[in-house]
Symmetry: C2
Subunit: 456 residues, 2 copies
């Protein structure tokens, strides 16, 4: 029975679905600057390293076992593993692995991790199709643009309400990327976006469980299937994104429609993608960065009397755990982060292993960290002074941490991050070959040349 509704709706929204569909279907290949093209390659490299690095994680074992109950065809590669599964399964699994360590990319304006859903879907499809690297890069740039622009439309209300925005916009980016790879026209691309619009994935309540990384994986799979359906003539509303009872208005009370179309085809959201140098929450990054810089200036753990750390109150509120008992707790300890930065000069996943967090020298150093709150210091900054046994004081102020938009990771640093993740899984030689393939992705004739290198 029809009901009147008390939920407000905007009946005058612009044609967002059609606008984005036309863009995805018709924007020229490589129709962007060298900087955008380069960022796409950095995004792909970083995503591949994260996926390979988590390939043997318990979450992947469980998810792969579930997918194998479907007896999938061997269509596409599970990065970092010898098993091959169907495209939908590969999209799911690579989406899970790439987000398992929370170490992937971040579109800071929306805190979307865009490569997870988009690259996972696009690579699986591209591999099965035997598509060129050029086609894949195009799909990646356009798909990430769609996901992040729709994120811009609905952020922050959508996120505040409790959606894990990576999976609840990612299916749109994945659908867009796959529609592009399949060469769908504007109308069918609109249908792909429309079908995907009905399938947002992800609740913030899942943070801390395997279902968090499941979100980009499920979004990748949903987007891929949406594009396959559209290719075969399946229909959806051509106003699925913007209609009163369509995606944006159902999942958010804020709908800044202009964000979908402003400078479309000129400004690319992938330009604002960032990569985490450290395998923990971003709020600790400035403090770790400062300690890595202390080490680079010759400060050694054995010489340290104490480390004076001044940070915004939010840092201690979120990561003030003084005595972390294991690696997971270590991720919520700015004290451990500082110790790892000074002792190892990095804080990747290995520096968050249980035995590292409990190693005597690491424990001793983190206990020398004296943190004080200073709300005159920005959340994104840190003020660190090492007071040495000989009385010397070495001071580092980090205004923007490495990995921020203001101080992006260098290509070399991204490659080092990749190697740290991939070499233990693939071996050093194969890891280096895979880096090289990711670097020249846009020039590869068939992406299977790359995926072959990702198997141990």
């Amino acid at each position: 029975m029809a009901r009147n509704t008390s939920v407000a709706a905007d009946t005058n929204a612009p044609p967002v679905t059609r606008t984005l569909a036309r863009f995805v279907a018709t924007h020229p290949s490589r129709g962007w600057s060298e900087a955008v093209e380069h960022e796409a390659h950095r995004t792909f490299l970083n995503w591949t390293g994260c996926a390979v690095g988590a390939a043997t994680h318990e979450a992947m074992r469980a998810a792969l076992a579930a997918v194998q109950m479907l007896e999938p065809a061997a269509q596409a590669t599970v990065l970092g593993r010898s098993e091959r599964v169907d495209m939908a399964g590969a999209a799911l699994l690579n989406g899970i692995s790439s987000h398992t360590f929370d170490f992937d990319d971040t579109h800071l304006k929306t805190i979307i991790h865009p490569a997870g859903p988009v690259a996972s879907a696009a690579l699986a499809l591209a591999e099965h199709l035997g598509a060129s690297g050029r086609t894949l890069v195009d799909a990646l740039v356009l798909g990430i643009d769609v996901a992040c622009r729709m994120g811009n439309v609905i952020y922050p209300e959508h996120y505040d309400r409790g959606w894990h925005i990576t999976g609840s916009t990612g299916m749109l980016g994945a659908a867009a990327a796959c529609a592009r790879l399949l060469g769908l026209d504007e109308q069918k691309t609109a249908m792909a976006l429309g079908i995907a619009a009905s399938q947002p994935v992800g609740l913030r309540e899942q943070f801390g469980t395997m279902t968090k990384p499941f979100h980009p994986g499920a979004a990748a799979r949903a987007g891929l299937l949406s594009a396959l359906l559209a290719k075969n003539g399946f229909t959806a509303s051509a106003r699925a994104l913007e209609a009163p009872r369509g995606f944006a208005q159902v999942v958010s009370t804020r709908c800044a429609w202009n964000e979908a179309s402003d400078e479309l085809g000129q400004r690319f959201e992938i330009s604002f993608n960032t990569y985490k140098p450290f395998a923990c929450g971003i709020v600790i990054h400035p403090s770790i960065d400062a300690c890595v810089q202390l080490r680079a200036q010759g400060v050694q753990a054995g010489d340290v009397e104490r480390i004076e750390l001044k940070v915004h109150s939010l840092v201690l509120e979120l990561t003030g755990k003084k005595e972390p008992a294991d690696g997971l707790q270590g991720k919520f300890s700015v004290y451990h982060g500082c110790a790892a930065g000074l002792i190892f000069g990095r804080a990747g996943e290995p520096e968050y292993a249980d035995d590292i967090v409990n190693r005597p020298d690491v424990v001793a150093l983190r206990r020398k960290v004296v943190a004080t709150v200073d709300d005159g210091i920005d959340e994104a900054a840190a003020d660190v002074t090492a007071v040495l046994r000989d009385g010397r004081r070495v001071h580092i102020f980090v205004e923007h941490a490495i990995g921020s938009l203001e101080r992006p990771m260098s290509d070399a640093a991204l490659e080092a991050k990749f190697t740290a993740q991939a070499a233990p899984v693939l071996g050093a030689g194969r890891s280096a070959e895979l880096i090289a393939a990711c670097r020249r992705l846009g020039a590869i004739g068939n992406v299977r040349e790359l995926t072959t290198l990702s198997r141990p």
Copy 2:
């Protein structure tokens, strides 16, 4: 970066996820009345007939073609077709077909169509496992209870906001049913519900497109995969349904938690399931019902001078199309509905074919229907008088249409509905065999005995 949020949240919700998980994992087989057991069989019969009846629809052709691009293993039956696909694909496809004609079951309190997501997932899994019919009926009753109870928690705000509630609660019912079939314990069942909670499917904007029936299909697939993941050790929040950033509070501002647990295990929501006798919106049903009754009283179309129809204003607002041009428009025409009821004594999918809607005698009769608004008549009622050429007046007042909770379809009527849908696809003999199998589902040793009969 962490953000403060302005979105209100209830931090004191009861443990809904665990409560429902314990219920699903531990409630005794057939732990309900004969009436509930019988309703489960009626629900399954009605759902099977709808799925078989739409097996050759264009939406199914497109969806099957998409699924076949994944080269699925032949694990489970697509009802009414010769193709077999993997369990996930079968859950998707049977969910689509069963809702394609909008002719399936309705839990009137929430307007959820519960069998679509739940039976589609459960049958696909049960067939692959070679499970007994008893196990399948248990899974169906418990899964529908979970979906409809969660619907009761969030309806109507959730629906008013724009969610197609069948797919946005159905994944929970599907996960529950599959968890039960897999024999998962309480903890793993909670994980299955938790994983599913992140995957609500469906926007009302999609009504009128193939994506509407996609919603129960995608929900079925999501629930099935959630159970497979949980079986293999994948984790989710054990408060995924009720937490401040969990399912119910993210998708609705109304959360009547007691609806999840009141009389749990004593009152079964499948008891309140209803079945459509006519293949159109429920608001027209009383008028059609009245015309079918006129026919049964001997009124013939050729004798009719005019039909005086008095209905609530909502009926004409939603279905006041006087001159429908095709079958789809016919579904929004109370005038065509009356004509079909009087001429054919039924209004199934064949009576909404384009050529029937345009047949001269049908057109002539619908033009004799004079509808007037009378808001003294309930939305669920209709007052119809046939004025005959000889001056006689035959009056029928329908307080509750056939198919309502107050006047449920008889078992014989459900079988006739099944035959009208399935016989053209399977042939009359096979259709009758399939009815018999559905009738004795709870006693079947291996559900493959039933699915075999559903292939043409």
